[in-house]
């Protein structure tokens, strides 16, 4: 509700823009992660041994200075912190947005906004739900939906994507990720204050398209080539 009072002792750290800056920074950390993850997945095209070697190497990087899986856990900790920051800020801003318009319009037209920009919140929740399944599938529990062995990363991957419905789940998740990145990349640039001219705005929007297509496209190659029998 509007109040006739003026704020005293305003602090930049308490503003909604600070929440947006936290979302942008954590989002950029995720972009770095998905690019590295996608690179690792593409090792599947180099065959069983190369893929498993890469997976094993991830756990031995930095030895003997770091313990086994040391670097992996440093990165995982960073990602968990980024996830908490990203989701908590989004939840706070979502709540604010709902309160900012207590009475909805009977008729509301969307003129300039993209579908991906309007589905950031539900799309984000879709990606979060997928993340839970994905970690159960490949990392925490190692669920092999075909019932085969789970101790061999390459075989677990092939067994999973040989099932057409698993491939579809992963492709749907990649479509959600592509939409999230399409708006998210541009929005992060704008939030960080990097788009102060019409040209830089166009570039940020183009970067959104490029990163969305590269990441979602790159990730989709392995399930697609597995379900069609190229990777086996």
């Amino acid at each position: 509700m509007a109040t006739p009072t003026l704020v005293k002792g305003a602090r930049a750290t308490r503003s909604t823009i600070t929440l947006k800056l936290l979302m942008a920074a954590s989002g950029l950390a995720f972009i770095g992660f998905v690019l590295a993850h996608m690179y690792g997945n593409l090792k599947a095209f180099a065959g069983h041994d190369a893929f498993n070697e890469y997976a094993h190497h991830l756990r031995t990087i930095g030895e003997p200075m770091l313990p086994e899986s040391g670097l992996l856990w440093i990165l995982r900790t960073g990602l968990i912190v980024a996830l908490v920051v990203h989701v908590a800020s989004a939840a706070a801003l979502w709540r604010r947005a709902n309160r900012a318009r207590p009475v909805a319009y009977q008729v509301k037209k969307n003129v300039a906004s993209s579908l991906s920009s309007r589905t950031m919140r539900w799309g984000g929740l879709t990606i979060l739900a997928f993340l839970v399944w994905h970690l159960l599938n490949f990392t925490i529990v190692k669920v092999n939906p075909s019932g085969g062995a789970t101790d061999d990363p390459y075989n677990l991957l092939v067994d999973t994507f040989d099932l057409w419905w698993m491939t579809i789940i992963y492709l749907v998740a990649m479509a959600a990720l592509a939409m999230h990145l399409h708006h998210g990349v541009w929005s992060a640039c704008q939030t960080l204050g990097l788009t102060n001219t019409a040209v830089s705005r166009q570039r940020a929007k183009l970067a959104g398209w490029v990163i969305a297509v590269v990441v979602a496209g790159g990730f989709s190659l392995v399930p697609l080539f597995t379900v069609f029998g190229v990777i086996d």
Partner: protein
């Protein structure tokens, strides 16, 4: 032309409101949208009904008072204010839905009139420069680079109508704030208070209950003065600088 109007009626801020349908006939396509509403109100007066309350003042597109959500678009289908929208933008037999700006920070006063005092308080919290009064200073004593002066001038065209808030799905006033931050931030006179200004204005904005920006761009497309989205980037950049300075 003959039209059906679905209009939000609400007797006062505390009473519940509802949509009501009205028929108007013989509307000329050369009438402005507000003149069409004047015709309806004359009709309602003749029938002894309470006329529809709506905001309007200059009727020449410069004051920003007329504030109507027309068929789901702030100020209707053209890039202009409601007073400069003409009935030729509609066709005979159309059904037109008219609602007030919807935002928690803009409470409905009556029917289509909302209280935009929240904008005044955002300006009051920092949207100004402190200067000694007296005679106007020599214009060339403080030179401003041409590109900065032009950008400041272009965004100073904001008339504070609130269309950006009305169009934003988050009810954010970021475009309004960004226009003022950019206008004063580009000019030498705006520099001394630049980073306290952004912190104070954003704090007031949040306090009033406006939402956060999600950079979707509905505001800029609804703006009758075509203020571009890059003012929000400027706003964010200035706040980021204020954070670095510990403001």
């Amino acid at each position: 032309m003959n039209l059906t109007l679905n209009i939000w009626r609400q007797p006062n801020a505390d009473a519940p409101g509802a949509m009501h349908a009205y028929a108007v006939e013989g509307i000329s396509e050369d009438m402005s949208f507000l003149e069409m509403l004047d015709v309806l109100n004359e009709q309602l007066n003749a029938q002894g009904e309470e006329p529809i309350a709506f905001d309007h003042d200059c009727r020449e597109g410069i004051c920003g008072t007329c504030s109507l959500m027309i068929n789901g678009q702030a100020h209707g289908p053209e890039v202009t204010t409601t007073c400069q929208l003409h009935m030729r933008s509609f066709t005979d037999g159309d059904s037109i839905t008219i609602e007030p700006w919807r935002a928690g920070a803009f409470p409905v006063v009556k029917d289509l009139v909302v209280d935009r005092g929240a904008f005044d308080r955002i300006i009051q919290s920092g949207g100004y420069i402190s200067a000694n009064t007296g005679s106007a200073p020599e214009a060339n004593s403080v030179p401003a680079p041409r590109d900065k002066a032009m950008r400041a001038f272009n965004v100073a065209t904001c008339i504070g109508c609130g269309a950006c808030v009305a169009a934003c799905p988050n009810g954010s006033a970021s475009l309004f704030m960004g226009a003022k931050i950019t206008h004063l931030g580009e000019l030498p006179q705006g520099q001394p208070e630049r980073y306290t200004r952004v912190v104070d204005m954003v704090a007031q904005h949040d306090h009033e209950g406006f939402g956060g920006c999600t950079n979707i761009g509905e505001c800029a497309s609804a703006c009758p003065k075509e203020i571009p989205l890059d003012v929000i980037s400027q706003l964010n950049k200035d706040l980021r600088t204020a954070l670095k300075q510990g403001k």
